[in-house]
């Protein structure tokens, strides 16, 4: 963990060598989801609500998912751009160092410019929370934090799965974007507005529902049942990382036996 911080600090120093580019890219990252959010705003301005969800409720959903996405793109960028690491042979270098590969791949790259995207989603969250009539208590605050953490783990897991495929293909697979970018686009709305199979897929296969939809119901007081269960649901999303870790280990093993 300390080492993770050290990796981050050296790459931050490197990033600061290109300061102008950093600020411009961060600014860009601020405005990309901003336009999506503007679309959301105008949609609701025209139709009032969607399937019983108000604008601010969906806004909260949006903020949580984009926050999680921004954080995981910043921290797990090493997995997201893993194909270049394999193609250049740099992965061999990681294997001759006495640390586990996951930590080293995470430490190989950080995308600090995602701070722009993060800032935008924080702004949205503050704005919608001011307008939502939620009675805050400790459980709800914890739930909200867990939602973001859970989302970070799920996105990281998907990045990892996509990276693992690079062991076989060398090149990055665009298919994986369906689940990262696509997952983000889907999960920024409450899942109940979709068809049944879509909802199921994003609850049981890739558990965005546990990050977003189910705890969201609780935060908005749309549920009955014991509070702590809803508080713990985001943790289920965190467990998504476990099979990803196993598959990653399998991929590394394959790489070491084929050398490709």
């Amino acid at each position: 963990m300390i080492l993770f911080g050290k990796y981050m600090s050296i790459l931050f120093k490197a990033q600061m060598q290109y300061r102008t580019s950093f600020f411009l890219l961060s600014l860009g990252q601020f405005f990309v989801p901003f336009s999506v959010f503007a679309g959301l705003y105008f949609l609701f301005a025209r139709f009032g609500q969607v399937e019983g969800w108000s604008f601010y409720e969906v806004g909260l959903c949006f903020a949580v998912i984009h926050m999680a996405f921004a954080i995981s793109e910043c921290l797990a960028r090493g997995f997201d751009s893993f194909s270049s690491l394999v193609a250049s042979g740099e992965f061999d270098r990681l294997l001759v160092r006495p640390r586990n590969t996951i930590l080293q791949v995470l430490g190989s790259k950080f995308e600090f410019t995602r701070i722009g995207r993060l800032a935008q989603s924080v702004a949205v969250m503050i704005w919608v929370l001011i307008h939502l009539p939620i009675e805050w208590d400790a459980i709800k605050v914890v739930t909200l934090i867990l939602m973001v953490i859970s989302g970070v783990f799920i996105f990281t897991g998907i990045f990892m799965l996509a990276a693992t495929l690079c062991f076989w293909t060398i090149q990055a697979i665009e298919v994986a974007n369906i689940f990262t970018d696509g997952g983000r686009e889907m999960a920024q709305y409450p899942l109940s507005i979709y068809k049944k199979w879509v909802t199921r897929f994003f609850t049981f296969v890739i558990p965005f529902g546990c990050t977003n939809y189910l705890p969201l119901l609780f935060l908005l007081g749309k549920t009955t049942g014991p509070d702590f269960i809803y508080m713990l649901i985001p943790l289920v999303g965190v467990f998504f990382i476990l099979p990803c870790l196993l598959i990653w280990q399998f991929g590394v093993k394959h790489y070491r036996s084929t050398g490709s």
Binding site: I2, L3, K6, Y7, I10, L11, K13, A14, Q15, Q17, Y18, S88, G89, E90, D92, R93, L95, V96, R97, P98, R99, N100, R256, S257, T258, G259, S260
Partner: protein, 325 residues
């Protein structure tokens, strides 16, 4: 220290043909071809040895290095280095080795060299006192003091290579793999790198495995040579033994007073001849160099004689041809 027994490794390689049509076909169906990168490789290396590991491109050099550094798992065979099997105890084993890939940097490109060194210290969990001692020794012997605070991207190739070597020795490994350490360096840098390896090997009893295409590296550093071709070990022994076995040729250059007589001695070939100078190739299996000089001095009035052993490059080329590599 190192004992390698019967290593085998083969790869499946997709066969590709040229042409758009073939490329389209390859999208759906691929022919695989098995390439035996290593066949029955065995050798052992003692602590403190410098071993030159050479062979033409694609001979299996880097596959061997990858197996020995724990990156690759072989199909069969055993390899024991310092009591570890590299591919089984990877994390614990690699603490004891240093690896320099000549064509790939292990330093962080945009930050000063010292920052990379400090991160490596943390990766390898080097204690502060050990780090300090190693760093000051390396900075002194490799003359890095002016370079430490320069970003890596601003270093010249030679400067960078010195930093790379220092980086791979910070955690005081007992075994160092050098993969083409002098590639692309100018003459001065090459000499500096060689000199350093030699000294460090002497002082620390560091074992070095060196792959290179520059035969001068071998000549300057390695007492022992392992030659690999098409996955087989072709020669393993001292450089001198290789010379004796294959390089029975000497080159004799003579200067003499103008003379019209022809040089014709059994066992020699005339490589070039001008009015006052001739270069002869001597096959020492047929005739001694001193005999040749004796015979020459009967015919000619010699003013200068020099004898040179066959350059090792030629020897290797000859070997490659002999084994049809």
């Amino acid at each position: 220290m190192i004992s390698v027994q019967g290593l085998n490794k083969s790869f499946k390689v997709a066969r590709r043909s040229s042409g758009l049509r073939q490329a389209t076909k390859a999208l759906f169906h691929r022919d695989y071809q098995t390439v035996h990168a290593l066949s029955d490789i065995s050798f052992s290396i003692q602590p403190g040895e410098i071993v030159g590991y050479i062979g033409p491109n694609g001979a299996g050099k880097s596959t061997t290095i990858k197996v020995m550094s724990g990156i690759l798992v072989p199909d069969s065979g055993s390899c024991e280095i310092m009591g570890y099997t590299p591919w089984k105890d990877r994390a614990r084993y690699v603490k004891n080795i240093g690896v320099v890939f000549g064509q790939r940097s292990q330093l962080w490109w945009d930050v000063p060299v010292i920052d990379s060194f400090e991160l490596l210290r943390d990766i390898y969990k080097v204690s502060p006192s050990e780090y300090k001692a190693n760093l000051s020794l390396l900075v002194e012997t490799l003359q890095l003091s002016d370079l430490l605070h320069t970003p890596v991207r601003q270093l010249s190739l030679g400067q960078r290579m010195r930093c790379e070597i220092a980086a791979s020795l910070l955690h005081s490994p007992t075994l160092l793999f050098l993969d083409e350490p002098t590639i692309g360096l100018d003459a001065v840098s090459k000499l500096a790198v060689r000199q350093f390896i030699k000294t460090y090997n002497n002082e620390r009893n560091l074992t070095v495995i060196l792959t290179t295409h520059d035969m001068n590296d071998i000549e300057a550093l390695a007492e022992r040579l392992i030659l690999i071709g098409k996955g087989h070990i072709l020669f393993d022994g001292r450089l001198k033994a290789l010379r004796e076995k294959f390089g029975a040729h000497k080159t004799l250059t003579i200067d003499y007073k103008e003379s019209a007589s022809n040089i014709d001695i059994i066992g020699t070939t005339i490589l070039s001849q001008t009015g006052q100078r001739a270069v002869l190739g001597v096959d020492t299996k047929q005739i001694n160099v001193s005999e040749v000089i004796g015979k020459l001095s009967e015919q000619l009035e010699l003013s200068d004689v020099s004898v040179e052993a066959q350059p090792i490059e030629e020897l290797i080329v000859q070997l490659y041809q002999e084994y049809e590599l």
